[in-house]
């Protein structure tokens, strides 16, 4: 069973065809696109999963009867699918300006999507503006370019704001994975894990069609997008990251001795140095997970 289909396409017809073609073979569909393009798919992408639980629901779970919030995290491994279509959908919209969000707020609220800001995120208000409208945020692609102080303040917002009832990713997926003790890999979140994803062109044809039915992941990519460039030599890209991985013990010995290695896998040192930032995020989420586990244990 193919685990994951990632669609990044602004062509509604092609998108619908792809979904229909692989309907029986996929478990997840991610749509990544620009704001206006996404809004054109309102009729195509229906029956979206409700948002996964948030820290608020985790806390109310601790205070009240049991719930299944831990199951509903589409970005974490092993998420469930309840939709009529039979597969889980995740919609991510890249937004260039805050004004666009305000303008299309109602439609975005109906979409149940994740906003990925491409505008500068320098303070908590840059994000709380979105969450206060009931729209989820995904900072995965932004974190490595943000100041540590801003990231930690937003993390605080996610962890402690009493009325926040919308997830802020990737914090939420990381926290849930810690609580559930499931594996979660930063490279997988970025869809860059070597051999974990297959690139397929817009017609849905892979380089190796037989693999479509045997392997776990299928990746459909729009190479005109800025975020996901088409890589002509697909095996080359896979190999360069693979080589980076294999070189970690020699080139980044601190990474193999790090308690967060399982999650990060030296992402923080890949072409940049944001290790300090990820460590701060993971330390905080780890300690929150411990606290929540303690509370849950005391309640039982």
């Amino acid at each position: 069973m193919v685990q994951q289909v990632i669609l990044v396409n602004h062509n509604a017809k092609a998108l619908e065809q792809s979904i229909n073609k692989y309907r029986n073979k996929v478990r997840q569909v991610h749509y990544y696109g620009k704001l206006r393009d996404t809004l054109n798919f309102r009729t195509v992408i229906h029956d979206n999963e409700p948002h996964p639980g948030t820290i608020k629901s985790i806390k109310s779970f601790c205070g009240g009867p049991g719930g299944s919030f831990l199951e509903k995290s589409p970005l974490a491994a092993g998420g469930k699918s309840n939709s009529r279509t039979g597969f889980k959908k995740v919609v991510k919209i890249f937004v260039d300006a805050k004004e666009e969000i305000i303008r299309y707020a109602k439609m975005l609220q109906e979409q149940k999507c994740y906003i990925c800001p491409r505008y500068p995120v320098e303070k908590v208000e840059d994000i709380s503006l979105i969450t206060s409208m009931g729209i989820a945020v995904d900072l995965l692609y932004k974190i490595d370019h943000m100041e540590k102080e801003a990231v930690l303040k937003i993390l605080d917002l996610y962890l402690h704001h009493s009325s926040l009832d919308i997830p802020i990713e990737p914090f939420h997926s990381i926290l849930v994975s810690r609580l559930k003790r499931t594996k979660l890999h930063l490279w997988n979140l970025h869809l860059m894990f070597p051999g974990g994803f297959y690139y397929v062109d817009d017609t849905g044809v892979t380089e190796e069609p037989e693999k479509l039915f045997k392997e776990d992941y299928l990746f459909l990519i729009d190479w005109k997008s800025h975020e996901f460039k088409r890589v002509n030599n697909k095996s080359h890209k896979k190999n360069s990251i693979k080589k980076y991985f294999e070189g970690i013990p020699k080139n980044h010995p601190d990474c193999v001795s790090c308690e967060h290695f399982h999650f990060c896998f030296a992402w923080g040192k890949y072409k940049k140095d944001t290790c300090f930032l990820w460590k701060a995020i993971l330390d905080k989420l780890q300690s929150s997970a411990k606290e929540i586990t303690q509370v849950m244990a005391n309640k039982q």
Binding site: M1, H185, P194, G195, F245, I248, V256, E259, F261, F265
Partner: protein
Amino acid sequence: MNHLTIILKPTNQCNANCLYCSAWEPGGKNKIMSQQTLEILFERIEEWVRHSKRTRKIKIIWHGGEPTLMPLDFFYKTIDLEKKIKETHGLEIENNIQSNLLYLDQEKLDMFKCLLAFNGRKRTIGTSFEPLPGIRIIKNGDYTTEWEKSIELLKKNNFPFGIVYVVHRRSLDEFDTIVETFLTKFPHTGIRFNPLYREGRAQNHACQSLYITPKEWGDFLVKLYRIWESHNKEPGWQPLKEIDALHFRKDSRACCDLAGKCGTTHLGIDTDGTVYSCGRGIDRKYKPYGNIHQNRISDILTSPARRAMNNRSAFLENTYCHGCKWWRYCHGGCPMDAAIDNNNDIFKKSHFCLSRKRFLETIYKEPFVEKCCS
């Protein structure tokens, strides 16, 4: 941390001269753990138990050298120290021992009845046996004769024992003899079959003729499995039994070299209190975690060297072992095997990967299927 296994070497001295001894150090001095080190060890354990909210079980495996060469009062002191921990913290420490039994007598056995008792039952004494002559040697007398006398003493005292057998080149040549011996002499005894690994005295030139290749080890396991299968999978021959349990019953309680989490569950403590990954880590002196004289156990458990050992499994799963369908059966194997093969680099596979694949492909064809999340 729910449980911790400590391989404790109170001495590196030995009364035997086995050709492939992995614990032997060239030019090594005789070392014995002092009473002070023993007391500090138990102070550290108590300190850790006091502060750790999750400690459930501690197991000590006495190793060496030959641990029975230690004076009796050393072990009686241990029994007292463990009793104190039990009375204060309610934690009972489980003791096991690996011994050549050549120095066993009734007095020592009476002591073991106290030391090795756990939850009111006797724990098994681990020992080693070699049916073929000229491999396990002692200065005076015949190794097998002396060993069998001790086995009789164990049987007379109704003391259970298990056997470790090291597989080498001559084992392959005389496979039938080996198997026949085990089936007739020890039809109800658990036996662990380990391949000879090139550590200690086994690195010597004299031992090279005993080396086996990964393919040969894999083939040996296949052949052994067929015999074991024909005897209704009895007695408990490892690693066959635990791999079988994993495959057919999804029982993941495999030995440390297959479980992939020895970095979290094991420590090895040398005679001077230096802490390593395990007994094999002591033999290799591979990147110590610390020393109980200077470091608390909680600090040792969070040392960079230990973290690296913990991360080995995740590293391999995402690199050299990525996509391997047998991953759940092996988790990259023993880190010390990888260290031997790769110039002390544990972040590589060991050559026994080939052996395991050969065995698993031949016997099971495909791995067990996990239940899918729907």
